[in-house]
């Protein structure tokens, strides 16, 4: 067997908050089987006891990794946020202690795009207001103002991972796709870039936002 700097079985992974079993499989595939799992977030005292000898910790959004907790983990090599946001981690304390923090910014791309696509159809058909009315006992059967999505124009603001995925799905349903992005992006399918935000707003029947949080947005 190849000699290694530190035996993988001695490298402890602490996974909290019921992280998906796919993570354990991926760790096993890479040879790491010293994994301690916990279905819940731990209160600070218990967390500090568990993290003391951990080399890696995996959390979701509920575990607060404060400077105090990070400093109680002398062996900690890296932190994995098994979610999108990283507000629950004191990032500065982590860098101060030489610990990188990783997250999963792109894993939900398809899920978001699918939800948005269904909402495009629901809105074009006036479903939300008719459903709400029906709950109140009102019967709003009419074709007025209802449209198929086929042939309509979807304007995507922010043509990143999610915006592109949405564009592909929308074209599959026969929509015309236009997009605006501050960087020049190669279009997928027959999507067409627009030079300005206002020209996109002029041409689009439905507008969907896929932009980061930033002073300019």
């Amino acid at each position: 067997m190849k000699q290694q700097s530190l035996q993988k079985s001695k490298i402890k992974f602490l996974l909290l908050e019921g992280i998906h079993p796919s993570a354990i499989d991926a760790l096993a595939k890479a040879g790491y089987d010293n994994v301690v799992c916990c279905p819940e977030a731990l209160p600070t005292e218990e967390l500090m006891a568990e993290i003391k000898d951990a080399h890696f910790v995996g959390i979701r959004s509920r575990t607060q990794l404060s400077a105090k907790v990070i400093e109680a983990a002398p062996r900690l090599v890296a932190i994995g946020c098994f979610c999108i946001g990283t507000n629950q981690v004191d990032l500065e304390a982590a860098s101060r202690n030489g610990i990188p923090v990783f997250n999963a910014p792109f894993s939900n791309t398809r899920s978001v795009a699918e939800l948005v696509m269904t909402e495009v159809i629901l809105l074009l058909r006036g479903v939300p207001q008719r459903s709400a009315a029906a709950h109140r006992g009102e019967w709003q059967k009419t074709a007025d103002g209802s449209h198929e999505c086929r042939g309509k124009t979807l304007g995507i603001i922010g043509y990143g991972n999610i915006g592109m995925q949405l564009g592909v799905i929308a074209e599959g349903l026969g929509m015309k796709v236009i997009y605006f992005d501050i960087e020049s992006k190669l279009p997928l399918g027959n999507a067409q870039p627009k030079a300005t935000l206002s020209s996109l707003l002029e041409d689009a029947h439905v507008v969907s936002l896929h932009v980061p949080q930033h002073a300019s947005t």
Partner: protein
């Protein structure tokens, strides 16, 4: 029609509520909000409540079992890559270094405060110990510096002790 499933602060919800009431916008679907309830037990407050032509969802755009599964793999792989190889690509708080394989070589990882003098102290350790460096990768971000050094010699305790003793050192690790 307007859809926002990106970030809560990018739409002025008072203006949107007004545009929906005046029918200038036909309908909307909003999944993210400037202020969201801290837990499922807290009340959701928004100027859009009560507008039937607006779909309101509690920030569930990415909340599916499939996304959770993808997240498990994506983050686990980033952790094992850092553990095995030292690569920090896409870290949120840390200098990003993408590293090649290091078969047959010893790799030293040195995380330090981004202050003048650290790199020259590191290089001095190698020259004093007569160790040939075959590859060196440095990146800094804010107050943190991260340098990875591949050496042809076998790693020695003396070397790592000297590297750890350098002022400004935060973490050191050896991979082989």
């Amino acid at each position: 029609m307007l859809i926002n499933a990106s970030r809560g602060n990018v739409v002025d919800l008072d203006a949107l509520a007004e545009a929906l009431r005046s029918r200038r916008i036909g309908g909307a679907a909003i999944d993210v909000f400037p202020v969201e309830p801290r837990s499922n037990n807290d009340e959701f407050l928004s100027p859009l409540r009560g507008l039937d032509q607006c779909i309101l969802t509690p920030h569930i755009g990415g909340s599916t079992d499939e996304a959770q599964e993808n997240i498990g793999v994506e983050v686990a792989e980033k952790l094992t890559r850092y553990s095995d190889n030292g690569t920090t690509t896409s870290a949120v708080n840390f200098p990003e270094v993408a590293l090649p394989e290091h078969d047959g070589k010893h790799r030293l990882l040195h995380v330090h405060q981004n202050i003048p003098g650290v790199m020259s102290a590191i290089n001095q350790v190698f020259s004093e110990n007569n160790v040939n460096v075959s590859g060196q990768y440095l990146q800094t971000m804010g107050d943190t510096g991260y340098v990875v050094i591949d050496i042809e010699a076998d790693y020695s305790k003396v070397l790592i002790t000297s590297l750890t003793a350098i002022e400004g050192t935060l973490r050191t690790r050896v991979l082989f």
